[in-house]
Amino acid sequence: MATLLLILHGLVAVALLGAITHQTLAVCAPPRTKPHFFFGRFRAIPGAGFSNAIVVLYLISALLGAIVYLYFKVDLQPNLERDHHWHALGFFDLKEDFVAIGLGVLPAYWLCWRQPANSEDHQIRAALTLLLAFIVWWGFLVGHVVNNIGGFGS
C-alpha cells in the first residue's frame, strides 16, 4: 500500500513540477518574440491557465505525502538514523516545513492568478509563483533522494 501511494505521490509531483516550471518561466521570463526553439516555446504559455491545476496538484501531492509520511516515520526513518543519514533527514525535515508553508500561501497564489494583473499584482504573482516553484523543486528532489537512500519498496 505504501509503495503504491508513494508511486502515486511521485506521479502527481512530476505533473506539478512540469506545470509550476512552465508557469514560473512564463511569468518571470516571458518570450519577447515568437519562440522558435524549445526553451522559448516552453515559457510561451498562458500562465493563468495553469493555476487551478497547480493548486489541485499541490493539494493532492501534499495529502499523499502526508499519508506516506506515516509509513516513512515508522519503517524508513529508523533505518536512516541507524545508517547515520543525518543530512538526508535534515533536508527531509525542511521539505515538510517548506510544503506546509506552501500550503498556507496557496490561497494567496490562487487569488493573484485569478485577477487581471497590474504591475503590482504582477510582482506579487511572480514572487509567490517563484516561492511555490522553489518549494515544489525542493520537495521533489529531496523526496527522490531520500527514496533512493531508502530503496524501492523498503
Partner: protein, 119 residues
C-alpha cells in the same frame, strides 16, 4: 490591488500561517502529537522519551508536523479574520507580508534544522 475583505483574509492568512508555523516549529507548539506505530493521537505536544525512557523515542516515534500545521492554520485563521475586519486601506500591509514573511519563515526553518548537520 483590490481591497476586498476576502483579499485581506487570504493575504493575511498566507503571511500569518508561515509566521505561526515557524513559531510552532521553534517552540514545539503542536496542536496534537501522532504516534504512527501505535495509531495514537494525543492532544498537545508529547515526547515519549521525556516521560518514560529514551529508548521509547525509537520504539514509539512521535510526529509533530501535522500538529504544527494545525496550530499554524488556527493562528492564521484568526489573523485572517481580523485582517478581513480591519479597514481596507491596510491591504498594502498584508499584500507586502504575503511574499516577505514566507521566505523569512523558510529561512528560520533552515536555521532550526542545523542540528541535523552537526553529527
Amino acid at each position: 490591488m483590490s481591497t476586498s475583505a476576502y483579499h485581506r483574509f487570504v493575504f493575511a492568512f498566507g503571511a500569518a500561517f508561515a509566521l505561526f508555523y515557524a513559531v510552532a516549529r521553534a517552540r514545539g507548539l503542536a496542536l496534537f502529537t501522532v504516534y504512527p506505530a501505535q495509531g495514537i493521537v494525543l492532544l498537545g505536544t508529547h515526547r515519549s522519551r521525556d516521560v518514560a525512557d529514551p529508548v521509547l523515542d525509537f520504539l514509539a516515534p512521535e510526529m509533530y508536523w501535522y500538529g504544527w500545521t494545525a496550530s499554524a492554520a488556527i493562528g492564521a485563521l484568526v489573523i485572517g479574520l481580523l485582517a478581513a475586519l480591519l479597514p481596507g486601506r491596510l491591504c498594502w500591509f498584508w499584500t507586502g507580508c504575503v511574499w516577505v514573511v514566507p521566505p523569512m519563515a523558510m529561512i528560520a526553518c533552515v536555521y532550526l534544522i542545523i542540528p541535523w548537520f552537526r553529527f
